[in-house]
């Protein structure tokens, strides 16, 4: 000890570096190097404290579910099926749960064959199983930009390369998608699937238009690519007419004999009932379904029979008028969330003001707000949490490179009551004004940083520039284009240039 403690010279060869870290490191799989953590995650851990107003979570409001009903349903499960509830179940899921899934899908206007369903442990497991089945290291996934922050670590863990396509008011521009697919082909890179959340996208809050949905399914067929349609919020629509699922459009094309041919559908009970149940599902073409099933066997054998039976009991419930009770609860949630969304939009109008823009979601749980380009929302979160006790998800979390989206944030309006939504937005607005004021003082301009902003960051204002082939895309729909925060694409792709400070 004496020698090494006082004079450790002599370089690497003098002593094997057999410390703990290197020992573990040599045992870890290569893919763990691609697994990412971030300062943001450290900060998010702090937002769980009770004195912080968190608009960060992806939470529905589970306080709305009647405790008596919960107790009653559990008692029914106990009375009718204790042994089954406590036993392993089939990997593909219990038949009674699959029947409920058929009902939910029907409510979305999508007819399915129960034999094409696999019940999963939350919708998140579908993303994991699809990657497990399809992705070799280096394979390409095409996703929206921004994309679901929860998919980012999954894609990273499977060492996928992700191409992100900037959305506009109507979701993913399909001509841009085709450009990317052409480029990938020219580069000899292999896209395996296109990941999209067509309804009330998380985190973007926008919805893919019908022409784009049709065109997306066509493109998938032209190029023999799979689509992973992630649809957790489709039934949480607060206004406007529902649009058909990609799954149903695929089925209409008829190539799969009435079933979807290239769409892997992801659904979940998390947002229409409870995330605590950890129950989701996939409806997939049979060859894919087989691989998902094999993957699930290795992951967890089966999803919880306790909660599957709970769902089955819940779907048997009828209200006084004989209507399914789950539909009544859905209406109750929609009324609640619609009102909270409106509160958030009002609060944003009042407190975010000039220089900021945000989406006006027709459903779902999230608003995506984009601030003055000089604000970095990761830093903003540090200050907002510390000085104001409020939290949100910084935009970078929705980008694979962790750099783009730096002026944006995701705000959840569903899991917080209206007073806290107002107060939370007020507090964020206050910190934004402080930071902009500081900028102004530092630059002497009061409003603009020196230099050409277009050269340092993505445009934040929507522009009319568009070159979509789809006719419906040629003109931005005024009601949507007026309110959406996403930049319309620019020909040179500068809207996607990363903000590098």
């Amino acid at each position: 000890m004496d020698r090494s403690i006082s004079g450790a010279g002599g370089g690497r060869g003098a002593r094997p570096t057999a410390h703990e870290l290197a020992r573990y490191e040599s045992l870890f799989a290569t893919r763990t190097r691609a697994m990412k953590s971030s300062a943001m995650r450290e900060m998010m851990a702090l937002t769980e404290r009770s004195d912080v107003i968190s608009l960060a979570g992806g939470l529905p409001d589970t306080k709305t579910f009647a405790p008596e009903l919960y107790a009653k349903l559990m008692a029914q499960v106990a009375a009718s099926a204790t042994a089954r509830a406590l036993q392993y179940g089939p990997t593909e899921g219990m038949a009674s749960t699959v029947e409920c899934i058929v009902q939910v899908m029907a409510a979305e206007g999508t007819a399915i064959d129960p034999g094409e369903v696999i019940v999963t442990t939350g919708g998140q497991q579908v993303i994991d199983l699809v990657c497990k089945a399809l992705i070799d290291p280096g394979d390409v996934i095409v996703a929206e930009a921004p994309t679901y922050p929860g998919a980012v670590p999954t894609f990273s863990a499977y060492q996928a390369e992700v191409e992100q396509i900037e959305m506009d008011a109507d979701g993913m521009p399909i001509d841009e998608l085709e450009t990317v697919l052409d480029r990938l082909q020219a580069e000899g890179r292999r896209p395996k699937f296109i990941y999209t959340i067509p309804n009330f996208q998380n985190p973007g809050g926008v919805t893919m238009s019908l022409p784009r949905r049709r065109r997306l399914v066509e493109v998938a067929h032209e190029r023999e690519l799979l689509i992973l349609e992630d649809n957790p919020y489709g039934l949480l629509r607060y206004e406007g007419e529902p649009l058909p699922t990609l799954h149903s459009l695929d089925a209409q094309l008829g190539a799969g004999g009435g079933a979807a041919d290239l769409v892997i559908y992801l659904g979940t009970f998390s947002k229409i009932l409870s995330p605590g149940l950890r129950l989701g599902w996939s409806v997939a073409p049979r060859p894919v379904l087989e691989k998902l099933n094999l993957g699930k066997q290795g992951s967890d054998l089966c999803s919880s029979p306790v909660t599957q039976l709970f769902v089955a009991e819940y779907f048997k419930e009828r209200d006084a008028g004989g209507e399914p009770r789950w539909l009544g609860y859905l209406d109750q949630l929609k009324d609640l969330y619609r009102s909270r969304r409106d509160t958030m939009l009002e609060a944003l109008e009042e407190h975010f003001g000039e220089g900021a823009s945000w989406t006006q979601p027709l459903g779902g749980l999230f608003v995506w707000a984009t601030l003055d380009e000089r604000i970095d929302t990761t830093d903003l979160l540090a200050q907002a949490r510390k000085s104001e006790g409020v939290a949100f998800v910084p935009g970078r979390a929705a980008y694979m490179d962790g750099r783009r989206g730096s002026s944006s944030m995701r705000l959840n309006f569903a899991g917080t009551d209206e007073a806290d939504i107002r107060e939370g937005i007020r507090r964020i607005g206050k910190v934004v004004r402080q930071q902009l004021g500081l900028y102004g003082s530092l630059t002497g301009s009061g409003s603009r940083a020196p230099g050409d902003p277009a050269a340092t960051g993505p445009a934040t204002e929507p522009t009319a520039a568009t070159s979509d082939r789809a006719e419906a895309d040629a003109q931005p729909k005024p009601p949507l284009a007026d309110v959406v925060a996403f930049p319309r694409r620019e020909q040179d792709g500068s809207a996607r240039r990363q903000q590098d400070r």
Binding site: M1, R41, L438
Partner: protein, 317 residues
């Protein structure tokens, strides 16, 4: 301490380094348990003092990172209730936590530290301190580093390559604290020398080099995730460089009045070959990827022995 007794491990807290602290604390707890101590872990929050008093321990092991645990106020509190605690006392903690103060002291003592100026956020508004920026830019030059004076773990550390980038870097760094440093950027190798007290007094441990896997900056992410940074210990340095780094670390430890254990971060200038001291940390990380445990290991001091020595520092003040 003659026989193992009851020890509280203080961890968690509300700082941005909460998660790191929880991991440090958990590691220390395991080691103390193996050493035969009765261990009570306290996540420092509202019920802290009450928990501490009811636990009636013989000593407290401080594993609280960030301002909560390192700015000296916790240490003062522990002294006020007469509880022996590990590591440095209030004065050394205050010096190390305020990087600007530490650098002033170092400069005064002739210890090389990169040129710097410190700024307070309120000065910008109240004193029009933005007017001073051009002269700061001239004296420090680009690229430069902006960092909060009292954050560890590289949180809030920003680069500016030109005047255009400076306001953004300042606003970013001010998000993490009201006082910041503007420091000359030294391109070079990241070194850390931990100093550990022992029977013969404080001795520097072998030098650890942190080699980031990714280009750019040794950032917060890579510092705490296994695999994101490669650590080399002992660092591949000449005997003279090693001796110089250890000598500097020990001088800083003594200068700032540290006690028990501290980690001194240095840079080896790739152009001049000079060593620069950046800062000292009074509550070094104890996670599986932390530099102190690695350095101790390279010196033949296992983790349990390291923790035993750190604990001993509570009784040798």
């Amino acid at each position: 301490m003659s026989s193992p007794g009851r020890v509280v491990v203080l961890k968690g807290g509300r700082s941005l380094e909460r998660n790191v602290s929880l991991r440090s604390g958990a590691h220390a707890q395991e080691a103390l348990t193996r050493l035969g101590h009765e261990v009570i872990a306290i996540d420092v929050d509202e019920g802290f003092v009450e928990q501490l008093l009811s636990a009636a321990p013989e000593a407290a092991l401080v594993a609280l990172h960030g301002p909560d645990g390192e700015d000296g106020t916790l240490q003062s509190l522990l002294e006020s209730i007469g509880l022996p605690y590990t590591g440095s006392g209030p004065a050394a903690c205050m010096c190390c936590t305020d990087k600007a103060l530490a650098k002033h002291l170092m400069r005064g003592a002739g210890i090389p530290t990169p040129d710097f100026h410190s700024f307070r956020e309120s000065w910008i508004e109240q004193l029009g301190a933005a007017q001073a920026l051009p002269s700061v830019e001239r004296s420090i030059g680009f690229p430069l580093v902006v960092k909060p004076v009292s954050q560890g773990s590289a949180l809030g550390v920003k680069f500016a390559r030109s005047s255009d980038e400076l306001p953004g870097a300042l606003v970013g760094a001010f998000s993490y604290g009201s006082k910041i440093l503007i420091e000359r950027y030294v391109k070079g190798r990241d070194l850390a020398v931990s100093v550990l007290d022992g029977p013969e007094g404080p001795l520097p441990l072998p030098v650890v080099e942190a080699v980031p896997r990714e280009e750019d900056f040794y950032d917060y992410e890579s510092r705490y995730e296994i695999g994101m940074t490669t650590f080399v210990c002992p660092a591949e340095l000449s005997d003279e460089q090693t001796a110089r780094a250890q000598e500097l670390a020990l001088s800083v430890y003594k200068l700032l009045g540290c006690h028990g254990v501290a980690r001194v971060d240095l840079l080896l200038d790739e152009q001049s070959g000079e060593l620069w001291v950046l800062e000292a940390n009074v509550v070094p990380g104890m996670t599986e990827t932390s530099l102190l445990p690695q350095a101790a290991d390279a010196a033949g001091i296992g983790f349990d022995e390291l923790i035993a020595r750190v604990l001993q520092s509570a009784f040798t003040r």
